[in-house]
Subunit: 188 residues, 2 copies
């Protein structure tokens, strides 16, 4: 099978990581892959905050928990009670993708997603694992989370659109979830 | 270089296509790649409408022009005056990606973008070209466009989130646009 398609089909969401840091060379390739995603109007108005410090990632996780516990949204509040859940899965690297609020792109959220997708596939190609993370997008406007994100490098005037963890998978890759049937129509 | 990363870096937006149809085998691989994108909550609540009929693609283009000309948005109205512009670039295949309005995913737009991204990379890996298309997302609520999209298979209750063209590039690949500097911060 074509290597690229093989990487696409074999990528899994990895939720358990080894403690090992990822190499500088691998990280640079993954970042380069992100920058080569297409963007609406070729805006490239994204920003990548790459957190390579496990203590800082855990500190962000603690801020996330505080925001969840204090949330007025019952769904989020309930998530705040899952004290044993690690939103960033103990990964050695967390990447936060934001996009300029005043981007000329009409599709800033999709642009960030495509950059995240390139990173996840590049990681797979380098025998690294990744997991797409939604909690920061959901909580980005909570004051504590907002301040923490800013402190980690999300620029002023940028909106967090996507995030992902990176690291070496600890254990075998999980099986792919079954694919939904009936999601395609062909017009000839 | 790793083949996957090479594909990511060498993918270009292709805006000129040969007349040749793409093979059934290639199309199936590209669709399979789309289905293996990650999705929020593993919702897989997307739908892919694959238009392989050039006349029907041109007919949709005509509907797009009508909607642009009749738009109250001055920017869109101005686009409607570009009578020589082909929004789907004469491609033999147009894929419209929609997502369920009532998806359990918190990120239906990003999910559709990741599926589109997988398709664009799979196309690149198969020596096909692709271009990400935004005009349908922009015009999806215009009555004429909405009806045309439904007629092409976009299910009721689904929202068009992304689209792309596919086909064999006519001519050499364009050079990559320069990448923006200063888009990364590393926290150690």
């Amino acid at each position: 099978m074509n290597n690229v398609i093989e990487a696409i089909l074999s990528r899994r969401s990895i939720r358990k990581y080894k403690l090992d840091a990822i190499t500088e060379g691998d990280l640079q390739q993954i970042i380069e892959a992100a920058k080569y995603a297409p963007s609406g109007m070729n805006a490239q108005s994204w920003h990548f905050s790459v957190i390579q410090n496990r203590e800082k990632i855990e500190a962000l996780e603690a801020v996330v928990y505080e925001a969840l516990k204090g949330s007025e949204d019952p769904y989020l509040k309930k998530m705040g009670e899952l004290a044993e859940f690690h939103y960033f899965y103990g990964a050695p690297v967390l990447v936060i993708i934001s996009n300029a609020a005043n981007s000329i792109s009409l599709s800033p959220v999709s642009d960030a997603a495509l950059a995240a997708g390139n990173m996840m596939l590049a990681a797979q190609a380098l025998d690294l694992g990744s997991c797409w993370i939604h909690i920061l997008t959901r909580l980005r406007d909570e004051p504590g989370v907002k301040a923490a994100l800013r402190a980690l490098g999300v620029p002023k005037g940028y909106v967090v659109c996507s995030a992902l963890t990176l690291g070496y998978p600890d254990g075998p890759l999980p099986k792919a979830a079954e694919r939904r049937e009936g999601t395609v129509n062909i017009v000839e």
